[in-house]
Structure formats: structure tokens, C-alpha cells
């Protein structure tokens, strides 16, 4: 009963916030449009990484995957002349990077945090290099409009709402992965793999293979998110396009205690706070009240505050981040 009441509090409070913002002159429709766009890459990456961490590997290189796939997906879209092909290129490349991280974290017994840091640093160098190598122009690429992924217009009474099918897909993914994790034998294996890999091993399931598969899945979903940023959201790529969102996705994961559905909720909160910060920073009448650059830092402050509040009650898989060594 109490949890049911709690379930109602959040949407009610959110509706109240929207009404208050509308009164302050910020359109709720465009705010929600922007929030769902900002939510999508976070939600995709967070759901995949939640499963990955449940299985025992943590990948802090998500930000690097975002950056690399956002950039290469643009080239894919231009070469195939189709934005959806570009999204697939992003997902495939992300999966490949996740596969490498999975291999390093299992067979190669890597320190997963160091490997993740390395992937991030690599991406900070690779992306400017790639932009220059592929298009001969430093730091930015705006592809022709035809190869972008268009937003769909959803008619709602009185107004129209622009929405990407990938935002819907992100929600579907979160639900499906949550179901797999908690309602299927495979999910049981995944959870056991993070808690006591020895037992899983004894039961005849390959710990390494399962972990690598999860890392690949996590990478592919982050890659889809990265491609979404450049092809569906911003309509182009700049060399710092991810702006630390990979780490915000990780914050969603830890704040949710590695639960895909809950991480979706956090992804929405962060997406909304980013949309709100940007709206405040550009809306005449409001933007004069606060310094532009300080407003842009609010999503990061919100992230810290939310993680600080919610993390206290979480517990994490026993062997998360530990390389599994067979006896």
C-alpha cells in the first residue's frame, strides 16, 4: 500500500513542477520533448550497463563509447545514405568496444577501472583525429539533413509532440531487460555471475562467456545511445559531444542499485534537468537572472545530489569489478 502511494507521489510532484514552470514562461511541451531526447542515450546505456554490472563487469568507459560511436555513426549514415544504418553502425561499433572490454576484464584479468579510463582517454584523442581524417575539418561535422534520423510528430490534442522512436525503444529495452533479469533462468544466471561466479562455474555455465556477452550488450546499447546523440538529437557531431553523459549514465546505474527499470527513472530525471537547464539558459526573461555557464552545470549538481540521496540503500554484487580466477 505504501509503495503504491509512493508510486503516485512522483508523477504528481512532477506535474506540479511542470505547471510551475509553465507559469514561469517555459513551455511544458518543448521541455518534455527536450527531456525525452536527453533521456534516451542515458537510458539506453544505463539499462545495458546495469545488466553488465549485475554480471560482474563494470565499464566506466561508456563515455568513450558515446564519443566514438557518435562520431563514427555519422560517417556510417553518410556512407549508407541512411540515418538508421548509421544507428546500426553505432550499435555495432559500441558492441565491438564492449566486447574488447569484456575480453580484457575476463581472460586478460584487467583492472577494469584502469581499462575504462584508458578507453575514455583514447576516445578524447581518437575522435578529433577521426573527424580530421574523415572530413578534413577540425572538431565538428554537420551531415546533410537527409541522412539524419527524423523525429516523429505525435498529435496530442491542441499541440503536436516531437518524439523519436528510439526514446520509445529505450523504454522498451529497460522493461525487457528488467524482465529478463528478474523473471528468467538467464537472469538468475546473470545475477549469480555477479554474486558468486564460482557457483555459476560449478553449475557448468561459462562465467567468462556470459560476462563478455553482457559487456558486448552493454557496449552496443551505449553505442546506440552515442549514435542517437549525433544522428537524432543534435543533428551532427562535435568533438566533446558526450559532455560527460557516459558518467551520468553510470550515475543512473549506481543510484538505481543496478536495476534497469529504476535506472530508466533516473535517466528521465537527469534528462529533464538538462532540458530545464538549457531552457533556462536560453529563454528570454529568465536567462538574464543567472549566469549562462553556471546554469549549464546544474545537471551535474543534480546528478551528485540524487546519487548521494539514493545510493545509501543499495547493495552491489559481491564480485563486481573483480576479475574471476578459476582455481
Amino acid at each position: 500500500m505504501r509503495s503504491f502511494v509512493k508510486l503516485l507521489i512522483a508523477p504528481a510532484a512532477f506535474a506540479a513542477v511542470l505547471v510551475a514552470l509553465a507559469a514561469a514562461g517555459l513551455s511544458p511541451v518543448s521541455l518534455m520533448e527536450a527531456a525525452l531526447l536527453a533521456m534516451t542515450p542515458l537510458a539506453l546505456a544505463a539499462a545495458g550497463e546495469a545488466l553488465n554490472q549485475k554480471g560482474g563487469i563494470s565499464n566506466i568507459g561508456i563515455d568513450g563509447i558515446f564519443l566514438i560511436t557518435a562520431t563514427v555513426a555519422v560517417l556510417g549514415a553518410e556512407d549508407f545514405g541512411n540515418g538508421y544504418a548509421g544507428m546500426l553502425v553505432g550499435a555495432a561499433l559500441g558492441g565491438f568496444l564492449g566486447l574488447i572490454h569484456g575480453f580484457l576484464s575476463t581472460y586478460a584479468k584487467a583492472n577494469q577501472i584502469v581499462a575504462g579510463i584508458g578507453l575514455n582517454i583514447f576516445s578524447y584523442g581518437f575522435v578529433p583525429y577521426f573527424l580530421m581524417a574523415a572530413w578534413g575539418f577540425p572538431g565538428i561535422r554537420v551531415p546533410p539533413k537527409e541522412v539524419l534520423v527524423p523525429l516523429r510528430v505525435v498529435p496530442i490534442t491542441g499541440t503536436s509532440f516531437r518524439l523519436s522512436e528510439f526514446s520509445v525503444l529505450a523504454v522498451v529495452f529497460a522493461v525487457v531487460l528488467h524482465f529478463i533479469l528478474y523473471r528468467t533462468p538467464l537472469g538468475l544466471r546473470i545475477r549469480a555471475c555477479g554474486e558468486s561466479p564460482e557457483a555459476v562455474d560449478v553449475a557448468g555455465v561459462g562465467v567468462f562467456r556470459l560476462r563478455i556477452a553482457l559487456s558486448t550488450l552493454g557496449g552496443a546499447m551505449a553505442g546506440l545511445g552515442g549514435a542517437f546523440m549525433s544522428l537524432a538529437w543534435f543533428g551532427g557531431v562535435v568533438k566533446e559531444i558526450s559532455a560527460g553523459r557516459g558518467f551520468i549514465a553510470l550515475a543512473c546505474v549506481v543510484a538505481s542499485g543496478l536495476e534497469p527499470l529504476l535506472s530508466l527513472g533516473f535517466a528521465f530525471i537527469f534528462g529533464f534537468s538538462e532540458a530545464l537547464a538549457y531552457a533556462v539558459a536560453i529563454t528570454p526573461g529568465i536567462k538574464e537572472l543567472v549566469p549562462y555557464h553556471l546554469v549549464l552545470s546544474t545537471p551535474y549538481v543534480v546528478t551528485l545530489a540524487i546519487v548521494a540521496v539514493f545510493i545509501g540503500r543499495r547493495r552491489f554484487p559481491r564480485s563486481l569489478g573483480q576479475p574471476y580466477v578459476k582455481d
Binding site: G64, I121, S123, G125, Y129, A133, Y300, V307
Partner: protein, 357 residues
């Protein structure tokens, strides 16, 4: 005896690091080749431009100078078993502190000669440490992984520095940069015609001191014990939280000094660009520097010279081999990835040995 073991250990680390460098350069060569450039030419200019002549080598040392401090900063936290990815943001704030103290305070108080440098760097260390307080407390009080929290602090520092540099501390005469530090708060150039300043003496001294603090003091011992494992430290009766926070603050102060050395020790600007172009990545490169040096602050001095040389050389690689200079950061990333897996490196070494014999 223990000295001999130490030397053996150092030799093994050195061979691991060189192997990682080789792996990084090999994969980068593939990337260079894949986009139709000439890897031999690119690598030649990368190394010739970094280490080939005395002039470029001096400039490489200048590039290395701030990295020694951000590297030592990361090493301190790593000794306590923590990853201070926040060195980047702490360095931004350190640069801001250097400009505020070395520009405004030094001018206001009319601080003379060498003392002005110390005032400026005091500002850097203070602001750097201040920016480390948040992640440190979130870690010990709420158990939030420092990697996530310090990245958030990096972005807050980025926007904070951008706001300050374009607003309150903008140079009225040249709005594309901040005010400069006063001449009395600048390190002097060692050789004419090079950008190398006496800041490098300060950086080397600070790295060595950091090493001594870690090895010889009670605080250093506690930090290393925490790094060896929380249970060990707890059984030894150490306040693990206190040691972790101390390590983080010391790390933040060092990273702040790294940012401070850019504004007090690098001609000709002595200030921060409005794009933050001259201070970005000094922290991330320091992370690479520290990991290459196996998180040993003295070894950091040498790995800084390597990375500084790569950066300096990349300025030659761009015009002469047409390869974007940013590729050197990809090389650093690949080196770090290779170093994360000593097992693989060992395997590669064994294969190389077998192939040789």
C-alpha cells in the same frame, strides 16, 4: 638485498611500460594507415619533434612540467586505492586560483619577486584541494564511487572556470583570455628562446617530496595501508576515512598546483584562454603519466617527459605528416589500456622472447 629486489621490480615495470608504449604505437600506426597516412613518417616526426634536438627537448620538458604534478596527484590517490579522475577539474580550479592570487592579490599587496610565485601557487593548491573536498566526503560518508563524483566535479569546474574567465576575471584589454598573473608571480625562463621555465624545478621537487611523504611519514604509511586493503588498515587501528580524505585533499592540492604552473610557468600568455584551451586535458594526461609510472611519484617525473615529448612532437606530426596532433592522446589511452592488463603484457613478452631465441 631489498635494494636488489627493488631494482628488479623497477626493471620489470620499465619493460612493461615500454611494451605498453610499443602496443600503443603499433595500434596507432594501424589507425594512421587506415586513413591513408604514412605511419613511419608520422612516428618519425612525433619522436623527432619531441626529442630530436635540444630546442625541442627543452620545449618537451616545458610540456612535461604541469604533468609531473597532475601525475603525482593521481599517484597519491592511487596509493590509497582510489582513482582521482577529478585531477582534471582540480587543475582547472588551480589555474583559476593561480590567476586570482597571482594576478589580483599579488598586485593588490605589491608582493615582490619570488614571493609572488608562492602566493599564486598557494591559491592554486587551496582551490585544487577545495575542489577535492566534495568527492572525498561523498566517498567516505555516502560510499559514492570517486570516479563518478569527481567527473561531475570536473564538469562543474569546467563551467565555473569558463564563467569566471569570461566574466569576473576577464582581461578587459583582451576579452579572449583572463587577466594575467603579475610579473613578480611568474617563473623565469631558463634558456632564452625556449618556453621552459624554472617551474620545472618546482615540479620535480614537489614530485620527490610527494614520494617522501608517502614513503616516510605516518600519513603516507596510513595512506599506503589503506591502499593495501581496507581490512588491513582497520586491523592496524587506522582511521581509514581520515586517511582517504587526507589522500584526496593532498591529491587535489597537487593537481591544483599543476594547473597553477601553467599560468605561472608557461610563456607567453600567463593566463587562461576563454576556451580553457591551454588548461584542458592537463589532468587526464597526468592520469596516463601516473599509470605509466606505476603510480610512483618519482617515476612520474620521467613518464611526464615521455608524454610531454609526445605532445610537443605531435605539433610537428600535424604539419609534416598531416596527422592530427590529437592522435597522441589516443596513443596515451592505448598505453593505459595495455597497462591495465599486465597478464597480456607478460604473455606478449614471453612470445617475443620465444620468437627471439
Amino acid at each position: 638485498m631489498s635494494l636488489r629486489i627493488g631494482a628488479l621490480h623497477a626493471a620489470r615495470r620499465l619493460s612493461e611500460a615500454s611494451l605498453a608504449l610499443a602496443v600503443g604505437l603499433a595500434i596507432s600506426s594501424i589507425l594512421i594507415l587506415a586513413y591513408g597516412y604514412d605511419p613511419a613518417k608520422a612516428l618519425y616526426w612525433l619522436f623527432y619533434g619531441g626529442f630530436g634536438t635540444q630546442t625541442v627537448f627543452l620545449d618537451s620538458l616545458a610540456y612535461a612540467t604541469p604533468l609531473m604534478l597532475t601525475g603525482a596527484a593521481f599517484a597519491v590517490c592511487a596509493s590509497a586505492g582510489m582513482f582521482n579522475i577529478g585531477v582534471e577539474g582540480q587543475a582547472y580550479m588551480g589555474a583559476v586560483g593561480g590567476v586570482v592570487f597571482g594576478g589580483l592579490l599579488v598586485r593588490y599587496l605589491q608582493v615582490p619577486g619570488p614571493l609572488g610565485v608562492l602566493v599564486a601557487l598557494a591559491g592554486s593548491a587551496t582551490l585544487g584541494a577545495l575542489w577535492a573536498v566534495g568527492p572525498a566526503l561523498l566517498k567516505v560518508l555516502r560510499g559514492i564511487h570517486e570516479v563518478i563524483s569527481s567527473i561531475m566535479f570536473n564538469w562543474m569546474a569546467f563551467y565555473m572556470a569558463m564563467y569566471l574567465v569570461r566574466g569576473p576575471i576577464v582581461n578587459p584589454a583582451r576579452p579572449e583570455m583572463s587577466i594575467s598573473v603579475e610579473p613578480s608571480a611568474r617563473f623565469s625562463v631558463i634558456f632564452r628562446g625556449s618556453v621552459l621555465t624554472e617551474a620545472i624545478y618546482f615540479a620535480v621537487l614537489a614530485s620527490v617530496l610527494t614520494y617522501l611523504v608517502l614513503k616516510l611519514t605516518k600519513l603516507g604509511f596510513e595512506i599506503r595501508l589503506v591502499g593495501a586493503g581496507l581490512d588491513v588498515a582497520r586491523y592496524a587501528g587506522i582511521s581509514t576515512k581520515k586517511a582517504m580524505v587526507s589522500a584526496y585533499l593532498l591529491s587535489g592540492a597537487l593537481a591544483g598546483l599543476g594547473g597553477g604552473l601553467i599560468v605561472t610557468g608557461r610563456p607567453p600568455v600567463w593566463s587562461i584562454y576563454g576556451t580553457l584551451g591551454n588548461i584542458t586535458n592537463v589532468g587526464f594526461d597526468g592520469i596516463g603519466v601516473s599509470l605509466i609510472a606505476a603510480n610512483n611519484p618519482v617515476a612520474v617525473v620521467f613518464s611526464s617527459v615521455l608524454i610531454g615529448g609526445l605532445w610537443n612532437g605531435s605539433r610537428f606530426m600535424e604539419p609534416y605528416a598531416r596527422v592530427s596532433s590529437e592522435l597522441s592522446r589516443a596513443v596515451i589511452g592505448l598505453i593505459v589500456i595495455a597497462l591495465s592488463t599486465p597478464e597480456v603484457l607478460r604473455l606478449v613478452r614471453r612470445l617475443v622472447m620465444r620468437w627471439k631465441t
